[in-house]
């Protein structure tokens, strides 16, 4: 069997099996734990959701459960949280990490409702003490900027500055570890306690501004400002930014259809719905919408187990108006099998939309 055909899940299972056999040999188990971490972090685009032939369900609530751990769970919150409890030390975090990573990997490898593999990668790249070396795995802040600095970066620094609180450790460029902790915290949760630019409405607005880059006129509703200002939810924000880039690229590509975009948000009991309306635009080629490839497939993969996605828009066939369609890109019925998402459900409507409306649902 060639090396790249062995999945991360197989590797983790094999290492776990070896650890059970070697359980009485501490010298061996620590080496095995070290291998486990290295494998666990290697979750990238090539990693499959494993269990070939099995269906996995799109489940944003699972992502929330996963990300919440870093805010409220006593085993994980010290990676983002001031150490205000006795007994929390770097040594203890390092020692406990193999077991913690094994627990985290359950969210990806042993669940019917797995989190997005990129969400898992984002978190592991930051917390993993073994994510070292020049080609270490990256995590992304809420501006989409890649970072190499994580918990692995402060192990040696801590040894040299044993009395300095972890968050105050200073790197050679003058930045504090606290700066990175804040960046990470605000990449897994839309927060209201940090900078204005970390708030939901600013992250969305700044991303749209960056990707539309003046190509069309973008208007934000009063509700967007009012509701978006207070949104406080766990979310893999970089996945949302990736999705916004694809949507904005489409809008720019079809700007000839309409030069006006309206961004709105509404709140309901279980979450928020962000709407990006490209007035005057329209959809074509229902087959591509139903069984997407290319950018639409990328968009769905970006938001799998992060947010629901619906696109509704006026529909034309060979230039002729055919009412409108609603495309359910990701919803509670969406499944993934062998890394392929199930087809989108599409419904025809007689009423016109007035353009193409992208609807992203965030869960509380």
């Amino acid at each position: 069997m060639s090396k790249n055909k062995v999945s991360s899940k197989d590797r983790i299972d094999f290492i776990s099996f070896m650890k059970r056999i070697a359980s009485s040999r501490h010298d061996l188990t620590s080496r095995i734990d070290s291998r486990m971490e290295t494998v666990s972090v290697a979750v990238d685009e090539k990693t499959s959701y494993v269990k070939s032939g099995k269906e996995f369900h799109h489940s944003p609530p699972k992502m929330i459960e996963f990300l919440r751990l870093f805010s409220v769970d006593d085993h994980y919150k010290w990676y983002t949280h001031k150490w205000d409890q006795s007994g929390v030390t770097l040594e203890n975090l390092i020692k406990a990490q193999p077991d913690r990573i094994r627990q985290l990997s359950e969210f990806l490898f042993h669940s019917e409702n797995p989190i997005n593999k990129r969400t898992y990668g984002q978190v592991l790249s930051f917390i993993n003490f073994n994510n070292t070396g020049d080609d270490n795995y990256l995590w992304y802040d809420n501006e989409g900027i890649a970072n190499r600095t994580g918990w692995h970066s402060i192990v040696e620094l801590h040894k040299q500055n044993i009395d300095t609180p972890i968050e105050n450790l200073k790197f050679s460029d003058g930045s504090l570890f606290l700066d990175y902790i804040r960046k990470f915290k605000s990449s897994i949760e839309f927060r209201t306690d940090l900078r204005m630019d970390d708030r939901f409405h600013k992250v969305i607005r700044n991303s749209i501004k960056r990707y539309i880059n003046g190509a069309v006129q973008v208007e934000y509703t009063g509700n967007f400002r009012k509701i978006g200002y207070d949104v406080n939810i766990y979310c893999d924000i970089n996945r949302v930014i990736s999705a916004l880039k694809i949507i904005c690229d489409w809008i720019v590509k079809h700007k000839v259809n309409g030069s006006n975009v309206i961004v709105d948000i509404s709140a309901n009991n279980d979450g928020y719905e962000l709407t990006i309306m490209h007035s005057g635009s329209y959809l074509t080629n229902i087959g591509k919408m139903q069984n997407p490839s290319g950018d639409f497939a990328k968009l769905r993969n970006s938001l799998f187990s992060v947010c629901d996605l619906t696109i509704s828009g006026d529909y034309k066939e060979l230039g002729e108006n055919k009412g409108s369609i609603v495309v359910y890109g990701l919803d509670s019925e969406t499944t993934m099998e062998d890394n392929h998402l199930s087809d989108c459900k599409i419904y025809h409507k007689n009423e016109l939309v007035g353009g193409v409306k992208y609807n992203i649902k965030f869960y509380k």
């Binding site: 006593d74 949280h81 306690d193 204005m196 009012k226």
Partner: protein, 218 residues
């Protein structure tokens, strides 16, 4: 009555004096709901006299089906003030729908003032928990810091504000004033009159003057 749901023994010990001193109006409590118990019934039976619940964000519930946001929604719907604290929360905030977040140390530092005000007026002012006794002044200073940090730390003060950014700046400034419940209209009216060729420095002066005028009223 005010209930604090603190599950950290060390923090409870550190702060028990102030709670004991005012035990007629405040106590440490547990949310020991059983798995088969109805949440509404449990709250009515145990906390029907609550004017305010103060919850540790990481509070561990015996019944895993119960979570903090359920209790928060229930209480806010019932008109009971609700505050969440954690060592991981950096700056306090109160959302328009009443969701209140505060840093754990800040909350305990301000607890005595908060209780005293409640005893004197029978009114729960969560702003005191977040910003202390002179909370309006602290809020104004916080707002000033946040706005100045947002606009003036990384911009060339002599440069003209790009016209395409003005709407967003107006929106964000208004949101910040609204968050702290200060009247933004005098500043925003002036800004709207000067929408074009406004430098960052002129904007800075407008904001400073406006904030100073508010300060004089506090």
């Amino acid at each position: 009555m005010i209930y604090i749901f603190e599950d950290r023994d060390s923090r409870k010990a550190q702060n028990q004096d102030v709670v004991k001193e005012h035990s007629d109006v405040i106590c440490f409590a547990k949310f020991d709901i059983d798995t088969d118990q109805d949440l509404n019934d449990f709250i009515v039976e145990n906390f029907c006299d609550a004017d305010c619940l103060i919850f540790h964000k990481s509070y561990t519930f015996k019944d895993k089906n119960v979570n903090l946001s359920q209790i928060q929604s229930y209480m806010l719907r019932s008109g009971v003030k609700f505050c969440v604290y954690s060592g991981g929360i950096e700056h306090g905030s109160i959302s328009q729908d009443g969701i209140t977040l505060v840093n754990a140390n800040v909350m305990y530092e301000n607890l005595a003032h908060f209780i005293n005000y409640y005893k004197d007026s029978n009114e729960v002012i969560l702003e005191i928990l977040l910003w202390g006794e002179r909370y309006r002044l602290s809020q104004l200073i916080s707002m000033q810091y946040e706005l100045f940090n947002q606009y003036f730390m990384s911009n060339d003060l002599e440069a003209i504000i790009p016209s395409e950014d003005l709407d967003e700046i107006l929106d964000d400034t208004f949101s910040k004033f609204e968050e702290y419940e200060f009247d933004a209209s005098p500043i925003l009216d002036k800004l709207k009159d000067r929408m074009y060729s406004l430098t960052w420095n002129e904007f800075f002066n407008m904001l400073s003057t406006g904030i100073h005028k508010i300060e004089l009223t506090l």
